[in-house]
């Protein structure tokens, strides 16, 4: 088989390939046949292409040592399957995972580029520390010993709350869970992750409306929608593969509406595009509901049966007549009417929102307004409807559910004594011992003037860690300021107020960055010492489970061994736990191989404790089986058709009730009463009591199919089982465990099992509520952004009064809004995603194939504003925020943004206020592309409920550089 001669080339006749006896054209005919078959079958999915298998590769290349490993893309919450070809431990190729019901082989730019992780030439390769401004290599042992000693010294003098432990939405479920557990054993709630600044207002707003703070349906279910309303979501760039399902829904006849201040690439595919002024979502939604109620388009029967408090919202909605809505939002009256009518005429309709809706100091009002809109139309709990909240990072859903959150223990149990006792029982450690780990020297203001120990006060969240460092310590609800931070998998350029962040970093006594890349944090400050880089593996170098946005859990195989000297999150946490002397307690029931905690055991512990949201049924064995047989699931319903998992839903979307042996199939659509609970049906959760002011909060004549109770009912407890006469359905062993417990704390799972056997939802059957009486705004109100371009509206729609202590810190509202910045800073400044990059971007900007597609940080400026400022396309400009942060970026003059609004991507870093910091990176680790972090110029402003930062409505001015 020599080199082919020229004659052969001309005809393309290619005889004698590597191996096998089938020639090229025979093979093509074969693939052509299956292609034809698929085409006859209809539209998508076209899984006609040949599936990759190692055997095929061998057949045609003669290479026999290639293995195919299956994992999940680490770049967003869609959960795309990745097939990696590995030869001698080297990641040499990537094939489409046609079997995955989520991506059917597809990838966006980021997903198609993940093989670059296996090359990793810009990675942090070994532990390092800054010594007089120079990076110095060190051993792992030395690093852990030095970092550990410094942290223990800080703990001795300032207490455990003086350290901020930042975890990650990019960790696996097991890694994220250990990050939370680690903080608990260290003795603090000062831990957090990206969800705080991504969808925290969704989680709180939505959970407080109907029970769980998660995407109700799935990407795939959008095939069934008749209308799709995107508000503050740019799926084409943030969740590109989700667009496959969206466009399939559109081709099935759904009307697609995009509401966004920016004409996004998603808007380019919409039937209707509505441009609204940033920060006016509540006004717009009330404007829609004004028409819906005026015309009687609301679903009256649905509201009667399943919704509480709609009447309390209506007086507020009545204030939003078309002229008022147009004045505040800038949307023409006829457009508002058209959207309202379209959504009313095309049911079921779904609503999709992302960070355009959440990142406001009134974010909880926005998310709740969206929910109320869907409830009015009767769109929740039905296929094709739902609140399809597209989450951001690949495992932000899982990390929110069971990971490092400063306000709760895993599973949304909260921080009450009962919550701690529950987890102490699961962890098999004494509650008193756990308590002794915390600062018990005194009590602090827990937010409403009530004193509490820090064990029971939410920790300082990641959006505010700089205030934890800089705020006068007498104003803090903890003993001392942060003196050290440990960031594991979190970019600091995603948080606001750059100049103050630099100041905070310089004040800290210790900064530890545990990350595959150095990150912006390593270079943005003038620190010279006491800064450590710990080389940390990506999720391709370890294994574990990951939760997609639709609550499905998938299993990742390890693709390659950890690169260079890097170690996975859970190994690093084990090393630190050992150094601090609590490893034996923390890993009591988790097997340790060498220094690696066994991932399966970690997940089993999660299964044992997380009853609230049904993370109990997804044992490692079941998840692995699902991932293995992913090709047997229907790509619209996600239900397995035949095969070993017949009738189960892909990835056992939570809640997957009871212990794994109960074989619950997972819940594909939340709150869908058309199915029995045992088959994935559900009611709204009874979370807020049974009555308020004499009015029942329980569902009225509505119940899930097959329910023995044909009406609303409260959440299940041992007492309730006895009252119902179902107590004896428990086994003798279950009775011992269940006595005095409820569905959330009964570790036997007996209470859940019996409830479900009677067709009931363990968490009760209530109405969704439109009024959240525990929130600052029980009925969502429009409030102008802290930095608003319409200062004339502040008197009518003012922000909140300042608060002395929320989340352990003072919160400023009115005192900021008291000043009118709109004259000096006339342009509204918002930010968003580019398809090529992700999050803080260090990882993707270090990826050759992605970096070459987006080499410059830029700001989109409308031609009108550009001309007024004398700016031409591609000019360098200074964009300056009202708090003094300024960034030097290229101008992109485009009508994508409207006059008076500028937009920048938020993935850039490695520059600070005009200066490229390339010299500050350890040698060979500077990302290929560097640029200004947009958040250097963003401003103060935090949601009072969750401390979400206000980055989707602030002000700036732009001048030629």
């Amino acid at each position: 088989m020599g080199k082919k001669n020229r004659a052969n080339r001309k005809t393309g006749v290619s005889k004698g390939r590597g191996a096998g006896n089938m020639d090229r054209r025979t093979f093509l005919r074969r693939s052509g046949l299956s292609l034809g078959g698929a085409a006859v079958a209809g539209m998508l999915p076209f899984s006609y292409m040949q599936k990759a298998s190692a055997r095929e590769k061998e057949k045609f290349t003669g290479q026999t040592d290639i293995e195919i490993r299956h994992t999940i893309c680490t770049h967003c919450s869609v959960g795309c399957g990745v097939l990696a070809e590995v030869q001698n431990g080297v990641w040499i190729g990537q094939e489409p995972d046609f079997d995955s019901p989520f991506n059917l082989g597809s990838h966006c730019a980021k997903g198609a580029s993940v093989r670059d992780h296996g090359l990793g030439d810009r990675r942090v390769k070994y532990p390092m520390k800054l010594v007089d401004g120079k990076w110095k290599r060190m051993s792992w042992d030395q690093a852990i010993s030095e970092i550990g000693d410094k942290l223990l010294k800080i703990r001795d003098t300032s207490g455990p709350d003086a350290v901020f432990w930042c975890g990650s939405s990019k960790a696996s479920n097991e890694g994220a869970y250990l990050q939370r557990k680690f903080a608990a054993f260290w003795g603090t709630n000062n831990c957090d992750h990206q969800a705080r600044i991504c969808h925290s207002t969704t989680v709180a707003g939505v959970a407080n409306t109907w029970g769980y703070g998660a995407m109700t349906n799935s990407y795939n279910d959008m095939h069934n929608s008749k209308a799709m309303l995107f508000i503050g979501s740019n799926a084409a760039e943030a969740h590109p593969v989700a667009m496959q399902h969206v466009l399939r829904g559109k081709e099935n006849g759904a009307v697609m509406i995009v509401v966004d201040p920016r004409f996004t690439r998603t808007a380019a595919h919409a039937d209707q595009y509505v441009r609204l002024r940033p920060g006016t979502d509540v006004a717009f939604i009330w404007g829609l509901l004004w028409h819906i109620f005026k015309n009687g388009w609301e679903d009256k029967e649905y509201i009667r049966q399943r919704v509480y408090g709609m009447d309390e919202v209506r007086p507020e909605i009545e204030k939003w007549s078309p002229d008022v809505v147009t004045d505040v939002t800038g949307v023409p009256e006829e457009q508002v009417f058209q959207v309202a009518k379209t959504m009313a005429d095309n049911r079921p309709g779904t609503i999709v929102w992302c960070m355009g809706g959440t990142q406001h100091h009134t974010g909880n009002n926005n998310t709740r307004a969206y929910c109320i809109f869907q409830l009015a139309l009767g769109n929740i709990g039905v296929s094709g409807g739902g609140a399809n909240i597209f989450r951001g990072h690949d495992n932000v859903q899982g990390a929110t559910d069971i990971g490092p959150n400063s306000h709760t223990l895993p599973g949304y149990y909260g921080l009450t004594e009962g919550a701690w006792k529950h987890w102490a029982r699961v962890w098999d450690v004494a509650y008193e011992w756990l308590k002794s780990r915390f600062d018990l020297s005194q009590q602090y203001d827990s937010g409403d003037g009530k004193p509490a120990y820090t064990m029971n006060i939410p920790g300082i969240p990641v959006s505010r860690w700089i205030d934890g460092v800089l705020e006068n310590k007498t104003n803090l609800s903890q003993k001392d300021n942060f003196r050290a931070v440990f960031f594991q998998g979190h970019a600091c350029n995603s948080q606001t107020r750059g100049p103050e962040m630099k100041q905070a970093l310089e004040k800290l006594e210790l900064v530890v960055i545990s990350d595959p890349y150095p990150t912006h944090m390593a270079v943005m400050s003038d620190r010279k010492n006491d800064t450590y880089l710990l080389p940390t593996s990506t999720q391709f170098e370890t294994y574990g489970s990951v939760t997609a946005s639709n609550r499905s859990i998938q299993w990742r195989e390890k693709v390659i061994e950890p690169l260079f000297e890097s170690l996975p999150d859970h190994v690093i946490l084990y090393k630190l736990a050992k150094k601090f002397g609590f490893a034996d307690q923390m890993f009591k029931h988790i097997k340790i191989n060498g220094e690696e905690p066994l991932i399966e055991d970690v997940l089993r512990e999660v299964n044992r404790g997380t009853w609230t949201i049904g993370y109990t049924g997804q044992s490692p064995e079941r998840i692995k089986l699902h991932t293995q047989h992913r090709g047997t699931f229907n790509t619209t319903t996600l239900k397995a058709e035949g095969g070993p998992l017949d009738g189960e839903y892909y990835g056992l979307p939570w809640p997957c009730w009871g212990p794994p042996e109960m074989k619950h199939p997972g819940t594909p659509l939340l709150y869908d009463p058309s199915l029995p609970v045992a088959q994935g049906g559900l009611t709204f959760r009874a979370r807020f009591g049974v009555e308020r002011d004499g009015v029942s909060l329980l569902a009225d004549n509505s119940y899930s199919r097959g329910s023995d109770i044909k009406d609303g009912y409260p959440e299940f407890s041992a007492d309730m089982l006895k009252q119902l006469g179902w107590w004896d359905d428990l086994t003798a062993d279950e009775k011992i465990e269940a006595e005095g417990k409820n569905w959330k704390t009964d570790l036997s799972g007996g209470i859940q099992r019996v409830a479900i056997e009677h067709g009931c939802a363990p968490f009760g059957n209530a109405k969704a509520r439109c009024v959240v009486w525990t929130f600052p705004d029980p009925v969502p109100l429009h409030r102008e952004p802290l930095y608003t371009p319409r200062y004339d509206l502040v008197s009518r729609y003012p922000t909140y009064a300042d608060r002395k202590s929320l989340w352990r810190l003072p919160n400023r509202y009115q005192s900021i809004q008291a000043t009118d910045y709109s004259r000096e800073f006339p342009i509204v400044f918002i930010s968003g995603r580019l398809v090529e990059y992700e999050g803080g971007g260090e990882e993707t900007r270090s990826n050759r194939w992605l970096a070459k597609l987006q080499p410059d940080m830029f700001a989109e400026i409308n031609p009108k504003d550009a001309n007024t400022a004398g700016i031409k396309d591609k000019d360098w400009v200074w964009l300056e925020g009202p708090e003094g942060g300024r960034i030097k970026v290229r101008a992109m003059v485009t009508r994508r943004v409207m006059p008076g609004v500028t937009w920048t991507p938020f993935h850039f870093g490695g520059w600070f206020q005009g200066k490229d910091l390339v010299d500050r990176y350890p040698e060979g680790t500077a990302p290929y592309v560097r640029g200004e972090a947009c958040n250097t110029a963003t401003t103060y402003g935090y949601d009072p409920v969750t401390q979400m930062q206000e980055t989707k409505a602030t002000l700036c001015r732009i001048q030629r550089a």
Binding site: F60, G105, A109
Partner: protein, 196 residues
């Protein structure tokens, strides 16, 4: 006999650059070269459309017609390939090509300095199929493995189709029929003087 074609469904293309990146990764395309690009019209304005473009593997390829050293050849599957050992990097094909497909290395050479490089429909080139020599000069040969071009196989929204022209046009035709209430398909206004 198959006649291999690309077809980009602009109603589906979201300009995500998945195709571009898939190509870069599969063939280890060097910095400065993109065998495939996504072109956007009316960027940021109503009517914005994107289309993924690479070598269209023309039946009567203009590049081949003008090549002074006759380095182009068409395989039996209708794929237009070229021989980098013959190519002199003159750039005539670049002028002739209506799609801007031919690329020229900027920094490091792709195989050899200055030689033209373009989309191979993942079919490699003259050296032995799936040999190291073929990979280094032309990239991987998926066709020889019975697979289709990775750009299309990985397309985020299945906008980019690759395969036997008859089959992919059938798929596209079905989509157009399904969308009949929305004749906003790219080119329709022009072809049929349709007023929206």
């Amino acid at each position: 006999m198959a006649r291999m074609k690309f077809l980009c469904d602009v109603e589906r293309c979201i300009e995500c650059n998945g195709c571009v990146t898939a190509c870069n990764s599969e063939h280890d395309v060097p910095w400065g070269i993109n065998r495939r690009r996504v072109v956007t019209f009316n960027d940021g304005e109503a009517g914005e459309k994107s289309i993924s473009v690479a070598c269209m593997h023309c039946t009567d390829a203009p590049c081949a017609a003008v090549c002074p050293v006759d380095c182009f050849y068409t395989t039996d599957d209708g794929i237009v390939l070229h021989d980098k050992d013959l190519c002199i990097g003159c750039g005539y094909c670049f002028y002739a090509c209506p799609f801007g497909a031919p690329q020229y290395p900027q920094e490091s050479a792709f195989g050899m300095r200055g030689k033209m490089d373009k989309c191979t429909f993942c079919a490699g080139g003259p050296p032995q199929d799936n040999s190291q020599a073929e990979f280094e000069q032309y990239g991987r040969n998926r066709i020889a493995e019975g697979k289709l071009p990775l750009c299309a196989e990985m397309c985020a929204t299945k906008a980019l189709l690759a395969g036997d022209g008859e089959l992919i046009s059938g798929i596209y035709r079905e989509r157009v029929m399904k969308r009949d209430s929305r004749p906003d398909t790219w080119g329709w206004q022009k072809a049929y003087n349709f007023k929206s």
